[in-house]
Symmetry: C2
Subunit: 240 residues, 2 copies
């Protein structure tokens, strides 16, 4: 699994995410706090806003490439939700008296490079990428929000936890996989590949002091993020 | 001018649109009624909804290719407006108990082919295309709405006349043209080229009985559409 490279020093530990029942994992209990590693408010808003815009762009590509008008229309709903989140985040930046373009700019080239990687080779891969990466990155951003000042933790959690249209993507993908079972293994492989680059882009937004201690701290967080990723793949009927 | 091909039988008449002052042309007065040539309600909604989706897709391309984060952000506002119009039209289709994908499908290949033509060679051409073609096609759809039943004429006019973000596009383009005056002649040429294909796609949505009489009827409508197109180019400082 690509994630091992994050903790290359301890390769002996193999991350094996397991599906757990809902009752095993009460939300927000025993969650590792990432707050101390959170960037400042504006870098946070800039990165999360740009990631939402990037997700929207990937969805736009999926709209253009959609195999039917019905699929096009469905994905456009998801794109509208991503764009609305992006605009809400831009409004947050503007409330601080800052220019959103300038606040997002420092993260552009890195995130654009990531976006090219996750675009995939066809519509199905693009759609899987939208579903899996936005899920993981929104999860991560919610965790990170704990380190923000004032009422931002609650506001960011509400904003990012709002409907992202993932049920629409899941429906489109499940129909496609059922119609063409050969898709399943290819998309499963693709889903596994996505996690490495997505964790890297998540990690790059942290302010990590020098030293290996922080990796120890991060590891359980990443393990949880991977477990959620695995659940998302499971929803598609794909083996992570 | 490409438009002459529409009325090839009477090439001697050259359409020379002129800028007129606002007071010369009171809105909705002396307008040629297109209503009798309007398609049925569902074909109308299907075509207009798909054209809005296409406009959104072209704007998405402009977001991806934007030369700066500020431009990307600005164009995303316009894309959101186009998508909202599309979704409103889809809601209208659903209110009639129909599936939006199925209602839009018959127009897909023709409009997709058009969309490829107007994409242009770079960001500036794409943006000019969004501004000019959505202006012309919305104008046309408003005219056509007069032939719809019940309160649809008023509702469609309100929906299509809502903010389309053209001021944002105009601002982006004017700044670009001022920074690089060489753009002006290229974009002027491009704007002139767009009008032919855009009028063709508009015309293709009409239900025209056999015979030349309808062309005579259409000609003044197209002349007005071209005059508005010329005004839009004028706003950019481009010579039509």
């Amino acid at each position: 699994m690509p994630v091992v490279t994050f903790f290359g020093r301890r390769k002996k530990r193999v991350v094996v995410p397991r599906l757990r029942s809902r009752s095993d994992t009460p939300a927000n209990v025993n969650r590792v706090d990432l707050g101390e590693l959170a960037p400042g408010l504006l870098p946070y808003l800039g990165q999360v806003a740009y990631l939402q815009l990037t997700n929207f762009e990937t969805l736009s590509r999926a709209i253009v490439d959609a195999p039917s008008t019905e699929a096009k229309e469905a994905v456009s709903r998801v794109a509208a939700l991503a764009l609305a989140k992006h605009h809400s985040l831009v409004t947050e930046i503007q409330r601080k008296g800052e220019d959103a373009g300038a606040v997002m700019e420092p993260y552009r080239s890195r995130i654009d490079a990531y976006a090219r990687i996750i675009l995939g080779n066809d519509w199905y891969e693009t759609l899987v990428a939208c579903y899996l990466t936005s899920g993981l990155l929104d999860d991560f951003a919610v965790r990170l929000a704990g380190g923000l000042p004032g009422d931002y933790p609650a506001r960011m959690t509400a904003l990012l936890s709002g409907d992202s249209g993932s049920d629409i993507l899941v429906h489109q993908l499940r129909v496609a996989i059922e119609a063409n079972p050969h898709l399943a293994s290819r998309l499963a492989m693709w889903g596994r590949r996505l996690v490495g680059d997505t964790l890297l882009i998540a990690r790059s937004s942290l302010v990590i002091p020098q030293g290996a201690k922080e990796d120890e701290r991060l590891e359980p967080v990443f393990t949880e993020l991977i477990a959620s990723h695995t659940r998302r793949m499971d929803v598609l009927g794909l083996t992570a």
